[in-house]
């Protein structure tokens, strides 16, 4: 039998790349991932007009690596090994990252230097245009050499890799850089991005430096995902102490964003000033820290994240880089916050430990901040916080030495330079940070409770009563039988009363709803009326012209009555004017009483013909309490409507206004009329302000000219007045009048 091995068409490279990589940002991201896998601390990408250079300070490739792994497509050594020599989990696994290059450019140069070839490098050049469909892959040649010189790697690293892509296929702009950023953001260490220098970087840190001078906002686009994520914190805890050894106090601030925790309505900021130590540990009541600061961001690792970042990615990222790190003079002490180095260092603030032992209240917060609730369970898990604490051990040593303290009494770094001595000073620092986090938990619970309360306020009385009954049932074994029975009976009674009240409210709402709808339509109608008024005006003018031309007196009269009608309509529009603009409806100011009263009279006088108004008794400088024009307008309008209805059968019809203030600084407005008066003793007159209360006797013959009649006018007056901290009541009528309503309020102190 003949035998034949499979051959691979060179075009398969393109096909594979297409299927596995797909887009230019992903292709470039693969090269960055290769740098990460090579334990680089820096990967630099330089975009220029016709080329892209990707260089790193990683371990580089030896000749053997190049020939056995790089030149072999689909090599799986990363899968076999899983973790890099520096402990990074490999990001690439398919061995096809370099195939993606064909999306980016026609030509690629590779320069790489491994530890065993320092000073020189391995140089290879790939021209993807040589890959011809129909030829075997094995016929595709890659030229390589080992020149004695090495290119420059980031930060003058002796080892590294540099890939130059030439004859670019795609044009790079902001959106593509954003795409690149979203592919690799999880690789970047967030620590001290701005200040980092390669030599200061720890092996686990990785930074991507983008230089794209020709792409507008290139760097910003690349960092967009990263920045959006870090800007999306839900709470921020900050603290600082300066001159602590000179009795300086520490300040702690906790900020919450709107909607965090769920249901919290507004953003909020809480500040506490505390003396260190927050808890007297051991023998030292003195503050052993001179200067320290921290900032901790708390994220929500559920739900939608900004820029469409999958929530799983955020969790993994925070698991890798999250928690609270400690910096000494700008250097990160890797023991703290990192799970890789030591689990106990990872939980150096003992958050996980306290969560594990289900601690309910803080051991650090003072009594006045304690609540009955189990607020410490609101401590954020290390997997959703990111923070850093900044100290300076040499500063601490200097200050402490000058006061003659012992080495155990200042923040002191251990010989390995990765952690601090566990002394009193460190304990004070830890407690300071934990105090702030406990304070956060406390405020978090308080906000959550407030949100729940708000929600509870919206619950119907029936649901509230059900809550009470449920609690009562739970407490049944602890309550004497007779007391239980009595409580239950009372609650059932309250429940029944509430049900009746709710039914009444429903009944009123069903009456109010059509009235409110009518109001809304009336506003729309007023706007539309303008067209009709214009038409009336035009017809009137035409009539007048015709009357003049043909000398017909009747036509002239007709024009006059049309004009009167138009004016009436115009005036009627004024009734709604205070409801038309947002400012008149909503803005709150202390408005001049006289100006408002005059406006209302102007608008209402058409509906109240023959009524005489006297406003001379209102002082010009009398101001209503804070409120919107529409509100005070409505108050006066309703009282005037009431006066009109009361004066339908009386003559003369006069409405008089008076105002002033008393010695206690209380201001008032009297509105009096010459109507039929109220047929109740003043002590019982408050009932007239109840909704649907209609005591006024209107002659049947004149009912058609009454205003309103729903029994809501005075209820509205009282509702608005009490909302604006004013009281309203019928009082002894002023001289010459039969009824007087008094609105009174606390006057302005600045008058």
């Amino acid at each position: 039998m003949n035998r034949q091995t499979f051959t691979v068409d060179a075009a398969l490279v393109e096909e594979l790349g297409q299927r596995l990589i797909g887009r230019a940002p992903i292709a470039l991201a693969e090269l960055i991932k290769n740098a990460y896998d090579a334990d680089a601390t820096t990967c630099r990408i330089e975009f220029s007009k016709d080329k892209i250079v990707i260089s790193d300070d990683g371990t580089g490739m030896s000749k053997e690596d190049f020939l056995q792994h790089w030149m072999r497509i689909g090599t799986t050594h990363k899968v076999d090994k899983r973790v890099s020599p520096n402990g990074r989990t490999y990001t690439g696994s398919k061995g096809i990252g370099r195939l993606g290059v064909q999306f980016l450019a026609y030509e690629m140069e590779l320069e790489t230097t491994s530890a065993d070839r320092q000073g020189g490098c391995l140089y290879a050049i790939v021209d993807w245009e040589n890959v011809v469909r129909g030829q075997d892959l094995e016929t595709v040649e890659v030229a390589w050499d080992e020149p004695p010189d090495a290119p420059q790697y980031p930060h003058d690293s002796p080892t590294g890799t540099r890939i130059t892509l030439k004859r670019l296929k795609a044009q790079w702009e902001g959106e593509k850089l954003k795409g690149l950023g979203s592919e690799v953001w999880t690789l970047q260490s967030p620590f001290r991005q701005a200040a980092r220098r390669s030599k200061e970087r720890r092996p686990e840190e990785f930074a991507i430096e983008v230089e794209a001078p020709d792409i507008e906002g290139g760097k910003e686009h690349f960092d967009k995902v990263h920045d959006a994520l870090f800007g999306n914190w839900k709470a921020r805890v900050r603290g600082a102490i300066g001159s602590g050894r000179a009795r300086g106090k520490a300040v702690i601030t906790v900020e919450f964003r709107h909607g965090y925790p769920d249901g919290a309505e507004k953003e909020a900021r809480f500040t506490e000033t505390v003396s260190l130590p927050v808890k007297s540990e051991g023998a030292s009541p003195e503050c052993l820290i001179d200067s320290a600061a921290f900032e901790i961001l708390i994220f929500k690792t559920t739900g939608r994240q900004p820029e469409g970042i999958p929530v799983g990615e955020l969790r993994e990222y925070l698991a890798e880089f999250g928690n609270v790190s400690l910096y000494d003079g700008g250097f990160r002490l890797p023991y703290y916050g990192s799970g890789r180095v030591d689990p106990s260092g990872h939980d150096w603030l003992k958050i996980a430990q306290d969560q594990g032992r289900r601690l309910n209240v803080s051991e650090l917060l003072p009594g006045y901040l304690q609540t009955q609730n189990k607020y410490l369970q609101d401590l954020p898990a290390p997997g959703r916080i990111f923070g850093e604490v900044t100290i300076n051990t040499s500063h601490e040593r200097k200050i402490a030495a000058s006061t003659g303290d012992k080495p155990t009494e200042w923040l002191q770094i251990q010989a390995g330079r990765d952690r601090l001595h566990d002394n009193q000073a460190f304990l004070q620092l830890r407690n300071f940070v934990r105090y702030a986090l406990d304070y956060y938990a406390n405020r978090h619970r308080m906000r959550a409770l407030e949100a729940t309360e708000r929600e509870r306020d919206r619950e119907s009385a029936k649901i509230k009563h059900d809550h009470v009954l449920r609690i009562l049932e739970q407490a049944k074994p602890d309550i004497p039988k007779t007391v239980f029975a009595e409580l239950r009976r009372e609650i059932a009674g309250a429940q029944k009363a509430a049900a009746i009240e709710e039914r009444n409210l429903d009944r009123r709402a069903s009456l109010l709803a059509p009235l409110a709808s009518a109001g809304m339509l009336a506003l729309a109608l007023t706007h539309e009326l303008s067209r009709e008024i214009l038409s009336l005006k035009k017809v009137g003018e035409q009539l007048r012209r015709l009357a003049g031309q043909h000398e017909v007196a009747e036509l002239s009269e007709l024009a006059d009555s049309l004009e009167d009608g138009r004016k009436r309509l115009n005036s009627l529009q004024n009734l709604f004017a205070p409801m038309v603009t947002k400012e008149d409806r909503e803005a709150t100011n202390r408005l001049r009483v006289r100006a408002i009263v005059k406006q209302v009279i102007d608008a209402m006088s058409l509906l109240m013909p023959g009524v005489e108004f006297d406003v001379t008794g209102i002082p010009n400088n009398l101001h209503f309490p804070l409120g919107a024009l529409a509100e005070w307008n409505s108050v006066i309008q309703n009282i005037l409507a009431n006066s009109w209805n009361a004066m339908l059968d009386t003559w003369p019809a006069v409405v008089g206004f008076g105002g002033g203030s008393d010695k206690r600084g209380r201001e008032w407005l009297h509105i009096s009329d010459t109507g039929q008066g109220i047929d109740l003793p003043l002590s019982e007159a408050a009932t007239l302000f109840e909704p649907f209360e209609r005591r006024l006797k209107i002659n049947k013959d004149r009912r058609s000219i009454a205003i309103g009649g729903q029994g809501l006018g005075l209820a509205i007056v009282r509702m608005i007045a009490s909302r604006r901290s004013a009281s309203v009541a019928f009082v002894e009528p002023m001289e010459g009048y039969s009824t007087t309503v008094k609105i009174s309020w606390k006057g302005s102190r600045t008058k």
Binding site: K538, T581, D584, A587, A595
Partner: protein, 428 residues
């Protein structure tokens, strides 16, 4: 002047056309665009917009009726009765595009405003995209078209642009901007960032022309160009549309450049009205200057008619005593060319006048002499009126605008039959 009028109702349109004819006293030539014809033109306009800022090709632009040589377009705001017009349109939804993509220099929207007089910002409608928002009843007022026809105690808001001259001024603005898109904005507008007048701008005034804080901080207000002003946002066009126009203009597309200049002209004009002249604290016009310094009228300061003659005075000394004008006021005049380009009245740098000690002394001396008429400038009639004493018939009313600065309190006559809002302003 040639006026294109757009309505969705034949009777309303006819009525408005008659009012325009009456207002313009024969000087106006009106063409009505109605019904299906209007729908077709609007759809053609949207197509053109798509060609310029969407996915279409701007070279394929078809001629529209809007492209004729109009001076002014008047559009009824509520066009919901147009058949086959989906989505529903209003004047507000069209004016941005008419301005940017046609040659019509000036746009008036009708019947959007809820009242006749704006007590809040003295603009008419501070939210409209139109150059002027009116009610159709206003169209018959002669002085709206030609301020020289103003009659005592007629309704004629000082903030109204005179329609006879506004389109020509707008053309001048567009021409000016078209060649200066890459030049510093504030300096070219005559209010350089390092001038005293700029310092007198309110915080709103300083930032509203370039409402992009990041851009302000990155570039510094001084070096912000007109292009930056356009890109930073404003009242017209969507941000994405602005970006496309900016990109095309940068690539040398003349149509895009023109569209930017047209949009910018309206935006800057609004800024001048709202933030620069509105508060009367940066630039001050003649009536508001006289209200503060009546002695500038010299020996006529006791005669209210002399006060009113200054309002229409078209050239220096604008009715002021010539010795005082030459000595103190002329030097504070806003640059002549800029003045003609942006304002219908002469304006002066108020900070320069305010800080002049000699003027202050003249004021104190004059005030003591008691020889001035007790006059206030009424914003609704554009005339000075006698200020009534406490307890009189109160035909002149004081009100509080919402404008920034120390000159927020103004006066009106409250003409019968006209609505003034928000009414809260009358009770403050």
């Amino acid at each position: 002047m040639k006026i294109l009028m757009c309505y969705d109702d034949i009777a309303d349109s006819k009525q408005a056309a008659e009012l325009i004819a009456k207002g313009g006293e024969g000087a106006n030539e009106v063409e009505e665009l109605l019904d299906k014809q209007l729908t077709d033109q609007i759809q053609g306009l949207f197509k053109r917009v798509e060609e310029h800022v969407g996915s279409g090709d701007p070279t394929e632009t078809e001629k529209l009726h809007f492209d004729k040589d109009w001076d002014l377009i008047v559009i009824d705001d509520n066009l919901t009765r147009l058949e086959n017009m989906i989505p529903r349109v209003t004047a507000e939804s069209l004016i941005d595009y008419i301005r940017a993509f046609t040659n019509i220099p000036y746009a008036v929207s009708l019947n959007r405003i809820q009242s006749d007089f704006d007590l809040r910002f003295l603009l008419g409608d501070h939210e409209t995209k139109a150059d002027l928002a009116l009610r159709s009843t206003h169209l018959e007022i002669n002085a709206l078209w030609d301020r020289r026809k103003s009659v005592s105690q007629d309704f004629l808001p000082w903030y109204w642009a005179e329609l006879r001259s506004a389109p020509e001024r707008r053309k001048n603005q567009i021409e000016f901007l078209c060649t200066r898109l890459d030049e510093p904005a504030f300096e070219n507008l005559g209010i350089g960032v390092h001038t005293e007048s700029f310092e007198f701008l309110s915080a709103h005034g300083k930032s509203s022309l370039v409402p992009d804080k990041a851009l302000q901080e990155a570039e510094g207000l001084e070096s912000l160009t007109f292009s930056d002003v356009f890109r930073a946002g404003g009242r017209s066009l969507l941000r994405a549309e602005r970006e496309v126009l900016h990109k095309n203009a940068s690539a040398g597309n003349k149509e895009a450049r023109l569209a930017i200049a047209r949009t910018l002209a309206a935006q800057i004009d609004y800024w001048f009205r709202r933030d620069v002249v509105g508060p009367q604290d940066v630039l001050v016009d003649v009536p508001h200057l006289l209200a503060r310094m009546p002695f500038l009228l010299g020996n006529k300061a006791g005669d209210i008619e002399a006060w009113n003659e200054t309002i229409q005075a078209g050239k220096p000394t604008y009715g002021m005593a010539s010795d005082l004008y030459e000595k103190y006021i002329a030097a504070a005049k806003f640059d002549d060319k800029s003045n003609d380009r942006w304002f219908q009245f002469p304006v002066f740098h108020w900070p320069r006048l305010k800080n002049n000690d000699e003027l202050n002394e003249l004021f104190v001396d004059g005030a003591q002499s008691g020889a001035w008429a007790d006059a206030v400038f009424c914003e609704d009639t554009s005339r000075f009126e006698e200020w009534n004493a406490e307890g009189s018939a109160e035909s002149v009313v004081e009100f509080a605008t919402d404008l920034e600065g120390p000159w927020a309190r103004r006066h009106i006559m409250q003409i019968d039959g006209y609505e003034y809002s928000p009414r809260t302003r009358l009770a403050l």
